[in-house]
Amino acid sequence: MTPQSSVFVMAALKIEREAELRVLLASMNELSGQANPANPLVPFTEFRQIHYARFAILEDETLGDIHAYFLPRVDYPVCLSFMADFDGMADDFRAELAQRAGAGLDRIFSCCQGYTPGTNLAQWMKNHEHPAAAMYVNWVGRTAAQVEEENALRLALEAEMQSAPSAYEGKTPRQIHAALKDFVYREKYEGRLKLTAPQATPFSWWFRNLVHLVGVPLVLLALAPVLILYAPVFLYQLRTREKSDPEIAPQVDPAYEEELAHLEDHDVTNQFTVIGSVKPGRFRRGTLIFVLWVLNWTARHIFNRGHLARVSTIHFARWVFVNDKRRVVFASNYDGSLDSYMDDFINKVGWGLNLAFSVGIGYPTTNWLVLDGSKNEQKFKYVLRRHELPTEVWYKAYPGLTAFDLRRNGRIRQGIERSAASAEELREWAALL
């Protein structure tokens, strides 16, 4: 199995070059916000390991919200961020980026402070990376190449059944399975289909994953006495704050909403980038660190097969602390339009949204950390939209495919590669076609 990795590079802009950078980023697109896969600056399509990538300028218009806590506004510099989700290891990815897109990235990053042309690009990126506090991957181990192969497989099977209906209609699942298996065998032999076997799991990754799998519960277990003793105090601290924390949820400026919407719904999948400040004080920050630490563990070891709790429309998502954990960037790739994404979330995992986002300044009032909050539907949507940022350049390696498509295609492939299966299994398999 090839594990997935991600990078999140962030660097302050040279303000005098912001306009130039925006033009440069826009030149990478073929449609508003949609990257031209073969753009000369970063020819994404040449990187077979990339699933998603984006450039977003992080300019937070909500920094003044801190006034609600009678604290002075901190003017964090406007930053450029580059994010990518890919197969394999980050070191290899950075090296390949430097090699294939070095000149383009050089032009882009030279608009950032502390970057001088000719710098060792891979090293510079590494120095400006922020690790994700929590990372969600829809299906750990599914590579971009595999997605492509499995989609080609499904389309070939569909075409085969359409072109020779008499060979399949009215046949039993077992007969269909055998016939399609033969068909795939022939297609592979002719070189028209390819189903690459998974590679061996890198030992270092496997080992670190195992340590993480066991380590987090062990640490929790060791901390349990403290946590239990602290729980009443925690609840007291939480309730006091929940009763007084201000909501900052005005209706979003229609012009801003339109600017964001302009970038959306060109593909069946959309991007989402938000930034927000964590409520002041150690309590909220500590809570978030803990929540994301646990969330990250569940995403890595439990929700790594097609769904994050009840939501099965997220491809990749990350929470990243920036500015000394005083701010958080959340970025995701999800299926459907933003409105339906938010509705789906509110109705299916409203409690989870509250856990992961209620520490943001202005979030709709929660109760007991998981109740209400996002269920204040309109305010929740305003807050999210207000904190959302335009994603200047967004790349998806497999346009037209949803997370569900990938899951179904994977199942179709599994079925084709199986030799023995029960009648029930074959019946379920045939229903996928």
Partner: protein, 514 residues
């Protein structure tokens, strides 16, 4: 409620269309107008606001009805202050054709593109719609009464929509408007924002269809609430959820779309797909719709338990029919063998609870909450239907054409046919737009691929998808059957979002700016 009357709706303040379909008034016309002169329009409105048909039940029923609704442009033309207008929802303010993203989401691209509409875009965007309904033979006289006084000075007519009565069936030949939500007028329904509803129900909180009341989240949908000192606010009722005077109260949003239906194209395509077999042709049409053409019965069997809000009317015959047509869910047909997953009514109303599997125990609920324990592969993709309901008041236009007649080629001058789709909802984004976008138009609805709504789909290309014009018929114990190359049957010809004010709000509008 034990005599507590605080929650009683003042029907006299609600436009009648929210409560009645005016079905006995088989004649209708919707006049789309621009406001030429604000003062004249206000004069006409102040007279008309007395004649607007309210939701009060009258015996005998009135022979004719009048309803009035405004777009953003209309409110501005009446000189409603900008800060008041800004209190309406962003979808209403942006308008149905306001931006390219909305058009993409609604499927208004390609031949559905607003630039080709007969009305609703650019200069043909109405400020208001004046809807007239009348019993047979009485429409002309009613019109003469309404389009009177300062009407001529006030308005410029940009389009007149004239629904026709073709016997309660939409132009393709199916009974239309069979399933409607049951509005909780008494506000007896209790919802808790944090509690999942474990089974599908048809009773829906009043706040989903009327502003100023609690919705399915137990919240009040945003709408303009004026300060007590604001100009004209003395006309308005106090808001129930906060201080101030509620301009939205007893009002709602009206979505109107003109959907042209290619009736001949529909039946001729089906005839070809069915190899000329009459029975197979009807079967395929029924699979696309999800109901039988003859009586509107669903393709899935009725369930034993009654569904709250189904079969609750006062009329026993209608109650029985409602049970026969609506006492069902798709729980017994998870694979779509009886009713295809992409059938029109299954997209429009998937009848799903908040969480599948009726998990009554804490542990089973927790397992479901974490996304596990679902025996069905598609299982949990589409949930919480109750937040996405529409009250439909559509009427057909054009002459009737039976499915058999439709097989004949069109003659020159063949009149147009279609539906003036009218939907009522308090939150356009979460109701109409969600249903239209995520359920009807989306080619990935419920895990499907390469197909949108069999009736309404625009068949427009989706990047990365080989085609979008299929319809899947899952088969028991075999691979599914797929109908391919389905042409577009429905073309959008016009549309707009309106605010349908309460009567007090109408009076406020008639005095706005003055």
């Amino acid at each position: 409620m034990g005599g507590a009357v605080v929650n009683t709706v003042n029907y006299a303040d609600v436009q009648g269309l929210v409560r009645f379909g005016f079905v006995a008034m088989t004649e209708a016309c919707y006049v789309l107008v621009k406001i030429k002169n604000a003062a004249a329009a206000r004069t006409w409105l102040s007279g008309a606001s007395e004649r607007v048909t309210t939701a009060v039940e009258r015996k005998p029923a009135p022979p004719a009805a009048l309803q009035i609704a405004f777009t953003r442009g209309g409110l501005e033309a009446l000189q409603v202050p900008g800060n008041v207008v800004a209190g309406f929802s962003s979808e209403f303010l942006g308008g149905m054709t306001g931006d390219g993203n909305r058009s993409r989401r609604l499927g208004d691209t390609g031949t559905n593109s607003p630039k080709d509409w007969e009305w609703g875009a650019g200069l043909k965007t109405p400020d208001a719609v004046v809807m007239l309904f009348a019993e047979p033979g009485k429409l002309e006289a009613w019109r003469a009464q309404i389009e009177n006084g300062s009407w001529g000075a006030a308005f410029e007519e940009i389009q007149r929509l004239t629904p026709s009565d073709i016997g309660g069936r939409e132009p393709f030949g199916f009974i239309d408007g069979t399933s409607q939500p049951d509005l909780d007028w008494d506000q007896a329904r209790k919802v808790s924002a944090n509690r999942d509803q474990l089974s599908y129900g048809n009773v829906v909180c009043l706040g989903e269809f009327l502003l100023g009341y609690s919705n399915e989240y137990g919240r009040f949908t945003d709408r303009p609430v004026l300060g007590a000192g604001d100009h004209g606010s003395e006309e308005l009722d106090s808001a129930s959820d906060r201080p101030g005077k509620d301009l939205g109260k007893n009002g709602t949003y009206l979505v109107i779309r003109q959907l042209q239906q290619d009736v001949r194209g529909f039946w001729q395509f089906l005839d070809k797909a069915a190899g000329g077999n009459r029975q197979a042709r009807y079967q395929l049409a029924e699979a696309m719709v999800g109901r039988r053409i003859e009586d509107g019965a669903p393709l899935v069997p009725l369930i034993d338990r009654s569904i709250p809000g189904v079969g609750t009317g006062a009329n026993p015959a209608k109650r029985k029919m409602d049970v026969e047509n609506n006492q069902f869910t798709y729980d017994s047909d998870a694979m779509g063998i009886r009713c295809p997953l992409g059938a029109h009514i299954r997209r429009g109303n998937p009848r799903t609870p908040d969480i599948q599997g009726n998990p009554t125990g804490i542990i089973s609920h927790l397992i479901r909450l974490l996304g596990f324990g679902n025996p069905n592969f598609r299982g949990d993709l589409v949930a919480s239907t109750r937040f996405h309901r529409l009250l439909r008041r559509g009427r057909e236009y054009g002459p009737k054409l039976t499915p058999e007649e439709a097989l004949q080629p069109a003659f020159s001058g063949d009149p147009q046919r279609g539906l003036h789709f009218v939907a009522i909802n308090a939150n356009i984004q979460r109701q109409f737009e969600f249903v239209q976008n995520a359920w009807i138009m989306r080619t990935k609805f419920n895990g499907l691929s390469e197909e949108s709504d069999p009736l309404l789909g625009n068949r427009e290309a989706v990047p990365g998808c080989p085609f979008t014009d299929a319809f899947s018929l899952p088969q028991e114990n075999s691979v599914g059957r797929r109908i391919l190359d389905i042409p577009q049957f429905v073309t959008v010809r016009g549309g707009a979002y309106f605010f349908l004010p309460g009567i007090r709000a109408l009076k406020y509008l008639s005095k706005a700016g003055g």
